[in-house]
């Protein structure tokens, strides 16, 4: 695996949270506006890259049995520093993100990448993986935030998109709107993958009846067949 590949997989192939469905709490909670989503993503990039690098550096001296605790401690120290930095230099953003900045500690992406990648790979690879995943997460959150902001407030990054006659579709910036939006985007991603594998002449991914007819796992399997 080349370093470029590790970097780019986070941008589309395994983009969180639309492909790698992790880190849903900030995805649902802080995407009321595009700028909130972007700020959250920036904080996650910072924590993710540094935690991946540090964990990769110390991966050989962490005892296997207490590795999760070590990962959490490392992530927590980084999150506290990002919180303090935000208070110092981006106070309005800190206020609008609220409790979700400290909650980055328990973001599944941080722990997931540490466990699945940084604990097994050298430093540069881990940094590339963290940067790619972080940028992918930021892009997703900004996209979702922009979608919800455009329809929910009629604005994009704070500037009006529609004319004054537009009545904001407030549902989109309420909590249920986040779930509906995310669900629709996930469905669109699956549809796109099925369409792509049809075009590439692969067998159509089977429907998993036990997962409510979702085909996401089968999509991954049919890709592995081709690659392997």
């Amino acid at each position: 695996m080349s370093i470029v590949k590790e970097f780019t997989k986070g941008l589309w192939k395994e983009i969180p949270p639309f492909r790698l469905v992790l880190g849903l709490c900030p995805t649902l909670a802080v995407t009321k506006t595009a700028s909130d989503g972007m700020g959250m993503g920036a904080a996650v990039i910072f924590v993710l890259v540094l935690s991946n690098v540090i964990i990769s550096l110390v991966r050989k001296i962490i005892p296997k049995k207490v590795r999760i605790a070590c990962f959490i401690v490392i992530a927590a120290s980084l999150v506290v520093s990002v919180e303090l930095l935000m208070q110092a230099y981006a106070y309005p953003l800190y206020q609008s993100l609220g409790i979700f900045v400290p909650l980055i500690v328990v973001n599944c992406i941080i722990l997931g990448r540490a466990e699945a990648f940084a604990a097994k790979n050298p430093v540069l690879m881990s940094a590339a993986d963290g940067l790619g995943m972080g940028i992918g997460f930021t892009l997703s959150l900004t996209f979702l935030g922009a979608l919800r902001e455009i329809f929910g407030y009629g604005k994009l990054f704070g500037s009006a998109v529609f004319g004054p006659a537009f009545k904001p579709f407030t549902f989109m910036v309420e909590a249920p709107g986040a779930f509906v939006c995310l669900g629709l985007i996930l469905a669109a991603m699956n549809y796109l993958a099925i369409w792509q594998s049809k075009r590439a002449g692969l067998p159509e991914p089977a429907i998993a009846a036990s997962c409510g007819g979702c085909r996401a796992c089968a999509i991954g399997e049919s890709k592995q067949i081709v690659e392997g």
Partner: protein
């Protein structure tokens, strides 16, 4: 499909059962629409042509959107089973008569797309489709969904807003007889209590509506209302007031009994109805919305898979 093309067909037999009772989805839906006609007529009498405009626009949008969805999903069109018309009609009944046109169009489109077609069409929807549209509209556009703010040229008063903002004394001034014949401001069809009961009676007489859910829903509303009334009669209205206002009757007889989103067994249906009824009163008492019926039914719909676990014992089981 491939086998059919290659193997020579000798003799084709339709799938069993071969003895058909004559009941079809289309027929049932038509009977439901017929049962809702008295309420539509009463809405026309009280609100005039604006009510007809909302009903027509809602039904037309629902049918058009369903046809488009079927086209996009590469399926035979299912609009001829009249379920889209019925969904549009239910949604119109929950809207104020002066609702702006875009509100009606968005509501009907959302009901069909998010409420029904995304889950695979009729039979797949876990929630009552028109209520999904209603919920999204009322979360988004509170002012346009409020009959008190939209319908100005009328002498009718909204009993639930009176209760919410002016207290129980103002609510008690309204005559229960007037409420019963639909002399109250509210969603255009949901408040026609008498006409809806006539329609429900017709469906019961044709054997299309089982009374377990409607009666247990009304009993739930009555009992919960009675508990609050007995706790403090000077703060909470009488349980009969709860029964006759808002969309309780429409919810109990038509929306909660939606066949896809309600449980199938007797005990489960009774539990389902009681849950929705009690939740209605709880939302009315503590919630920020004057009427709790649609949210209560959506809430109960979410529990339908749980209620469906209540099954009759198979014959011979211990």
């Amino acid at each position: 499909m491939a086998n059919e093309a290659t193997a020579p067909t000798l003799y084709t037999v339709a799938a069993p059962p071969h003895w058909h009772c004559g009941r079809t989805v289309t027929g049932v839906m038509q009977q439901y629409i017929l049962a809702l006609l008295p309420a539509a007529v009463m809405a026309f009498i009280y609100y005039g042509f604006p009510a007809l405009r909302v009903i027509g626009l809602s039904c037309a949008t629902a049918v058009a959107v369903e046809a488009l969805c079927c086209k996009a999903m590469d399926r035979p069109s299912s609009v001829d089973d009249f379920h889209a018309v019925l969904t549009g009609l239910f949604l119109a009944f929950l809207l104020p008569a002066m609702a702006p046109w875009w509100l009606v169009v968005v509501g009907a489109a959302v009901s069909i797309v998010v409420g029904k077609m995304l889950f695979g069409g009729l039979g797949g929807n876990p929630l009552c489709a028109p209520l999904v549209g209603w919920a999204i509209l009322s979360l988004s556009w509170k002012t346009q969904m409020d009959p008190g703010a939209m319908v100005l040229a009328t002498n009718l008063v909204d009993p639930l807003t009176q209760l919410k903002y002016l207290g129980v004394a103002a609510a008690n001034k309204l005559s229960l007889g007037d409420l019963f014949i639909g002399k109250q401001l509210g969603a255009l069809g949901a408040t026609q209590v008498l006409a809806l009961l006539v329609g429900a009676g017709y469906l019961v007489s044709r054997g299309l509506l089982k009374l377990y859910i409607p009666l247990s829903f009304l009993a739930g509303v009555f009992l919960a209302g009675l508990v609050y009334y007995l706790m403090d009669g000077s703060v909470y209205p009488s349980p009969v007031f709860h029964l006759l206002t808002g969309s309780v009757v429409l919810g109990a007889c038509f929306l909660a009994t939606d066949p896809n989103s309600s449980p199938v067994n007797k005990a489960a249906m009774v539990g389902f109805g009681l849950t929705a009824g009690v939740m209605t009163v709880i939302i009315r008492v503590y919630g920020m919305y004057p009427d709790g019926v649609p949210f209560a039914i959506l809430f109960a719909n979410l529990f339908t898979p749980m209620f469906d676990l209540i099954r009759p014992k198979p014959f011979g089981a211990r």
